[in-house]
């Protein structure tokens, strides 16, 4: 059952991440996610497969990409180059010949060892700050075996480990990683099952069930709530969420205000961004903090 899978798909490695767990951390973003949250700021993470993104404003129109594509997947239009996602096999050849960096492949296969080597580049920073590695995504547990192997290897190297999860995975997948996991950053998006389903594509029953189980283990569990205006930021939902967190026996709650930094990525992937909302104002965030004061939880804004 504990199969060792030695390679996985990673779309980004980000050093000096300081808002995703203790100390200075390196965030490893894994591809693949079971949810489809409409506000997702990493849409390139959702599919397990590598994808090519198009940064139209960088394109100089040299035509190299069109020439090299064996699948005739790239078409030049007045809006710039467009990739026919049905034809593209994500071979990455076009990204290699694009000197402008207008085409980039998101998703690269890494072996556990190669990835660890990259992560250990910053070992001295973890040492001085109490930091380590945080797996993010996507949903790291979506690549269940790779994540398991990776965490185990990291622990063997005495790294502090953390995972950011949406929780929508079989409990066993998380459970078998627990011996190698110091912290779990757990997203709770909505307590209402129907609304949850409407905006993420899945109901929240497994998610809530899993977090109840995790609260009884000795992993450091951190609950994070993305604050999405008009979707989950009603006073009622936030208060219920805080109560839920208290019932879990936890003392802290992290609020992650919605931001629109990821919006432009949708068009780069040839997709549409459905939401049309603005980030919550500072006043609203402060108001929320006030509202949650009664919960006696420590409320933090940001990671």
């Amino acid at each position: 059952m504990n199969t060792i899978i030695n390679s996985g798909v990673v779309f980004n490695i980000q050093y000096y991440s300081i808002h995703d767990g203790s100390g200075i951390r390196t965030l490893v973003f894994l591809k693949g996610c079971p949810l489809r949250c409409e506000w997702c700021s990493n849409p390139e993470s959702q599919s397990l497969k590598p994808e090519v993104i198009v940064l139209v404003n960088r394109c100089i129109g040299c035509g190299n990409c069109i020439k090299i594509c064996s699948e005739q997947a790239i078409v030049n239009t007045i809006e710039g180059n467009i990739i026919n996602r049905n034809k593209c096999i994500a071979c990455g050849k076009c990204t290699e010949v694009c000197n402008a960096g207008a085409l980039q492949i998101k998703g690269k296969f890494y072996t556990v060892d190669d990835l660890l080597e990259q992560v250990m580049e910053d070992a001295i920073f973890y040492e001085y700050s109490g930091g380590g590695i945080t797996l993010s995504g996507g949903e790291p547990f979506f690549q269940a075996d790779f994540t398991y192997s990776l965490l185990r290897t990291c622990k063997e190297s005495r790294l502090n480990t953390a995972v950011e999860t949406c929780g929508f995975v079989p409990y066993e997948t998380i459970e078998r990683c627990l011996p190698y996991l110091d912290s779990i950053l757990y997203d709770i998006k909505h307590l209402d099952t129907d609304i949850h389903k409407q905006f993420t594509g899945a109901d929240n029953l497994i998610i809530l069930e899993n977090v109840r189980k995790l609260a009884k283990t000795d992993v450091n569990l951190i609950i994070r709530v993305p604050v999405i205006p008009g979707i989950n930021d009603s006073n009622n939902n936030l208060i219920r969420t805080a109560e839920f967190v208290k019932e879990l026996g936890l003392k802290e709650l992290y609020l992650l205000p919605y931001h629109s930094l990821g919006v432009r990525k949708y068009s780069q992937l040839g997709r549409k961004y459905k939401l049309n909302i603005n980030p919550p104002t500072v006043e609203r965030i402060n108001e929320i903090k006030e509202i949650l004061i009664d919960s006696k939880l420590n409320i933090y804004i940001g990671g």
């Binding site: 808002h19 100089i60 402008a100 910053d122 001295i124 920073f125 109490g130």
Partner: protein, 790 residues
């Protein structure tokens, strides 16, 4: 601690008074030179100094506790005809017209200057020194798009010292005088050389009395003002000022107030003797602390009052200014910064941490004043107290790029490798922007020249032909089109570097020689260790340690360019030398795709990639090794540095297209920082990369700028992480780092609305300047620097 109303009021005055030119000093010095013609130069210099101090206007500003003025009123700047006659005359009509670094001048003062400046014709370093150069060097000196920018000490005084303030604080000028008198009495005049020493000692006696009398004038003025004063509190303050100025710097300081006043007089007088920049107080928290400690223990002073006195001193340091030399033809220029570097914290002679109460108060003073001066720096080592670092990052968070951070773990061994004792090395201070030096006993010429490494690469790739003028200005190192291996490229570069360094040394040694003859500096020589012992002025080599420090600029651009040639041309063969050289000749015109290939498809320094990082190390070593071969006329070594002092923009202006995809004329990278926009893996990767450069070899200093978006420093947890980053920096043995915490948007807004952003301070490659005082190009350059959006 809160900022007092007094300090706010004094600050408003400093910030709101426009800068203006004062002709008084120039007039007095000229008079004195006329009176002393025929006397030994050192005596003439001493007498000129004395005349200025006896006759210049003095004032005590409303509410001031620390007194002393540089020119006839607040924010006026004196003129130094001994060094600047020629350029001041040339720029006389443009000072008021400049958009930046503008100075007002009255018609009356203009007339005075017009009358006296002709006296100096043919008498300044600027006119005399270049004529002494050998023909070939002269041609190099006169190049329009030069490799070498050696003019700072040709057009200005030298400065760049960390004098021994302690010796005056503890002994007073009376103490110095008695030492000198004893030396004079014991001097055997029959021995060769001693006649000259006698003149040196006599000059010290003259300047010592001049300094004491100058303070005495303030004492009398304070008494007079006190007598007229109605406000009883102010009356008492003025009486105290009178008492303090009667005592120091003539006598040893006995209180913190006296010590601060004595310190400030020294700082001021150094800037009246010459117009040298970077006159740095060094380890201020060390030599001042005993006075504070005693006062606090004896309850003569409470901590609030002590802080206010310190704040006053901080403000006064901003009233010391210099006329900036901006030839009307020059497009780029950083705002003039006096870079009076105060450095706090660090280890003592025994290796123990010596951070004290005053170190914290200095951080507090800087948070209160928030002006460019002093250039505040901290020393860090493996045992630096956490609280000190916390206060440091809290100040960093406020923006403005202060304090800069220097690393004991590398600077101490580096200085020892230069032949300095362990004790002296552990007691280092910083001159100006980033130059480490033994405190109180060295004459470092630390910003002697800028050496354009990127230009050398350009010449190596075009057989010595300048791509801006089309003229052959470098060595013939072969047609790069025909190079068929990487070693040939590197060899050509090394040869160009060696050729130009040799000419640079000839220039600088010539300037040095002329300073020796024309511009002795007896005042500051009185308190730089070695001078009195040897009976020699600083300019003669009197200091215990002597150096000349020219800086190599463009390290990252050269490293990235060489890496691109190595990988794309010789390893992957995506490109031929022929194609590359043609593209460079045409400044990539019509070849954007090729330019992007070079920029984006070859690894870049600053991302933790071994290949370009080791290339950067090698480029540094090539420069340093060549520099270390040479000696100056003061008997000291050449010391290499790798930092740009705001010149990365103008120096980029003279460099053609480069193989890292940089187009002609664009700025070069800053110090040993990566090329702007090329460091895409964040600050830890930058630190790992920069750690690969051989810092210990660049003993004249290296410079790393890291710019942080405010979102990376939101709360205390973020600050703790920054502290960890700084501790790793110490452990990886980088030499210097400074953090800019501003958003690009803030800066753009400031560009639009300078009026309301006079508080906004930015470090331009090693020093802090008012952002709004910089020219548009330089502002744009700062905005472009990679921000670590976290």
């Amino acid at each position: 601690m809160k900022v007092t109303a007094r300090i706010n009021k004094l600050k408003r005055k400093v910030v709101s008074t426009p800068k203006a030119i004062c002709a008084e000093r120039a007039f007095l010095v000229t008079e004195s030179y006329k009176e002393t013609e025929g006397e030994p130069m050192i005596i003439r210099r001493a007498k000129a100094f004395q005349k200025v101090l006896n006759e210049m206007s003095i004032y005590i500003g409303e509410g001031e506790l620390i007194v002393g003025n540089h020119a006839s009123s607040c924010n006026k700047v004196p003129v130094f005809p001994e060094t600047g006659a020629l350029w001041v005359e040339e720029q006389l009509d443009s000072f008021t017209k400049r958009s930046l670094n503008r100075y007002l001048i009255t018609e009356k003062e203009k007339d005075i200057l017009k009358k006296i400046l002709p006296y100096w014709k043919g008498k300044t370093v600027l006119e005399i020194a270049p004529k002494l150069l050998p023909e070939e060097t002269k041609a190099v000196f006169e190049q329009v798009y030069p490799v070498i920018s050696p003019t700072l000490f040709l057009r200005n005084g030298v400065g760049h010292l960390v004098p021994n303030y302690k010796v005056v604080l503890e002994n007073g000028f009376e103490g110095i005088k008695s030492e000198v008198i004893e030396k004079l009495n014991n001097l055997d005049a029959s021995r060769p050389g001693n006649i000259k020493k006698m003149q040196f000692y006599r000059s010290i006696l003259i300047v010592s009395d001049a300094a004491s009398n100058f303070a005495e004038r303030y004492s009398r003025l304070a008494e007079k003002l006190a007598a007229e004063e109605k406000d009883l509190v102010r009356k008492e303050e003025l009486e105290e000022i009178a008492k303090v100025c009667r005592r120091v710097p003539k006598m040893p300081a006995t209180t913190f107030h006296e010590a601060l006043q004595s310190f400030f007089f020294l700082q001021l007088l150094i800037h009246i003797e010459t117009d040298g920049l970077a006159e740095s107080p060094g380890r201020f928290d060390q030599y001042m602390y005993p006075f504070l400690k005693k006062d606090l223990q004896e309850k003569k002073l409470d901590i609030e009052k002590a802080q206010e006195l310190l704040d006053c001193t901080w403000l006064k340091m901003n009233e010391i200014n210099k006329l900036s030399d901006v030839p009307p033809t020059t497009k780029y220029f950083g705002g003039v910064s006096m870079t009076q570097n105060i450095i706090i914290g660090g280890i003592d002679e025994n290796g123990d941490d010596i951070t004290n109460e005053l170190s914290y108060m200095c951080l507090e003073a800087d948070a209160h004043i928030r002006l460019p001066q002093p250039s505040l720096s901290i020393r860090i080592h493996s045992g630096s107290p956490e609280n000190f670092l916390l206060k440091t990052v809290e100040l960093i968070k406020k923006g403005g790029g202060k304090p800069a951070i220097f690393n004991d773990e590398i600077i101490v061994p580096a200085l020892m490798n230069d032949g300095i004792s362990l004790a002296d090395a552990r007691n280092y201070g910083i001159v100006g922007c980033v130059e480490p030096i033994s405190s109180g006993n060295a004459n470092g010429w630390t910003n002697a020249a800028m050496f354009n490494l990127a230009k050398c690469l350009e010449l190596a790739l075009h057989n010595g032909v300048c791509q801006l003028s089309g003229k052959k200005i470098g060595l013939s190192t072969g047609e790069a089109r025909e190079f068929n291996n990487f070693e040939q490229v590197k060899d050509a570069f090394v040869k160009q570097v060696a050729y130009f360094i040799k000419h640079m040394v000839i220039m600088l040694n010539t300037w040095d020689q002329v300073h020796m003859e024309l511009l002795p500096t007896p005042f500051v020589s009185a308190f730089v260790d070695g001078c009195i012992d040897k009976g020699q002025d600083l300019v003669e080599g009197g200091a215990k340690f002597n150096y000349t420090g020219p800086q190599g600029i463009g390290l990252a651009d050269v490293a990235d360019s060489l890496t691109a040639i190595k990988t794309l041309v010789f390893e992957n063969k995506i490109l031929t030398m022929e194609e590359l050289i043609s593209a460079l000749e045409n400044d990539f015109e019509g070849q954007e795709n090729l330019r992007l290939l070079l920029r984006n498809k070859a690894p870049k320094y600053g991302n933790g990639d071994l290949l370009p990082d080791l290339m950067a190390r090698e480029v540094g070593v090539i420069y340093c090794r060549e520099i270390e071969k040479y000696w100056n006329p003061r008997g000291g070594k050449y010391r290499p540095g790798l930092f740009p002092v705001a010149s990365n923009v103008p120096l980029g202006g003279v460099v053609g297209a480069l193989p890292n995809g940089r187009k002609k004329g664009l700025p070069l990278a800053d110090g040993i920082s990566p090329v702007h926009g090329c460091d895409v893996n964040g600050p830890t990767a930058v630190i790992r990369s920069v750690a690969r450069v051989n810092h210990a070899q660049a003993t004249n200093g290296t410079l790393l700028n890291l710019k942080f978006h405010p979102s990376a420093l939101k709360d205390e947890r973020d600050l703790k992480k920054l502290i960890s980053l700084i501790r790793v920096f110490a452990s990886l043995k980088l030499m210097h780092v400074q953090f800019n915490v501003v958003s690009a948007d803030d800066l753009r807004k400031a560009q639009q609305d300078p009026e309301n952003n006079r508080d906004l301070m930015v470090r331009v490659a090693g020093y802090s300047a008012m952002f709004v005082d910089l020219d548009k190009k330089m502002q744009d350059d700062i905005i472009d620097r990679t921000e670590f959006m976290l």
